[in-house]
Assembly symmetry: C2
Homo-oligomer: 150 residues x 2
């Protein structure tokens, strides 16, 4: 997908989900069924001067939704996507601006989603999102998303 | 704990965690080892006009941290609390202003936390947070928190 279309997607997200305007999310990329969020730490600080767990949970939840939605937009199959479940593990503090990398843990995850939506109008996508700090895993999130007919 | 002290806690949270100022959290109550967040829907809307999963994940994450911290403040044992893991299930859309109710699923959870902190300077608290809509469960979150020496 062209970056201009992804930039437009981010603008649409900010226009329709007010909280996203306060989460330091300044760029989304989408390539090879993988979404990256580039995020500033400052608006996501906690009382200890590191990444606020509530911000990070929210950004990971959003990243899975963005991945589901962008995979469908790429195929002209846009549907209403919703999160069903998510599990997050915090293993180290987030101490600088960061990237949320979100991908399909199953190699054919995007293809299965597209086949399901084509066949039944709805489909399911398992996703994983990760944040690294100094090349070590700081946060891992796994979620399940559903694409539904509007 | 007196409501004035809980109100002061909310002001301290808003002063030290910038995102909380944008999440519609206007009142916290704390009684019998249970925290309730009173939340406005408007700042937490998604593109479908219902509760944004990222806001709800963030508020549940914060509620567990608030419960852990308030249990310790009540005993003059304030420590630095952090979230370790959380799992959230979305079973119905959130369609109006809502309450996040957060409690200890184990009856002696608060007592065990206090004993651990007194004995070792650190302790662990499992928590559950729920959001009801029209008396039905819409969101359930279970998390694990740790209180650490500063």
């Amino acid at each position: 997908m062209q970056q201009a279309r992804v930039d437009q997607f981010l603008e649409q997200v900010k226009a329709s989900i007010p909280l996203v305007n306060h989460m330091g999310l300044h760029r989304i990329t989408f390539e090879n069924s993988e979404v990256c969020f580039q995020v500033s730490l400052a608006p996501n600080l906690n009382d200890k001067g590191t990444g606020f767990g509530g911000s990070i949970s929210g950004l990971c939840t959003l990243a899975g939704w963005a991945l589901t939605t962008l995979i469908l937009i790429e195929q002209d199959l846009e549907r209403s996507a919703v999160v069903k479940t998510g599990t997050i593990d915090f293993t180290a503090p987030v101490t600088s601006d960061f990237i949320v990398r979100c991908y399909c843990p199953e190699k054919d995850g995007a293809d299965v989603l597209i086949e399901q939506v084509n066949a039944k109008g709805r489909g399911r996508l398992p996703i994983v999102a990760e944040i690294l700090q100094d090349e070590k895993l700081a946060v891992r999130y796994a979620g399940d998303y559903v694409a539904l007919d509007r």
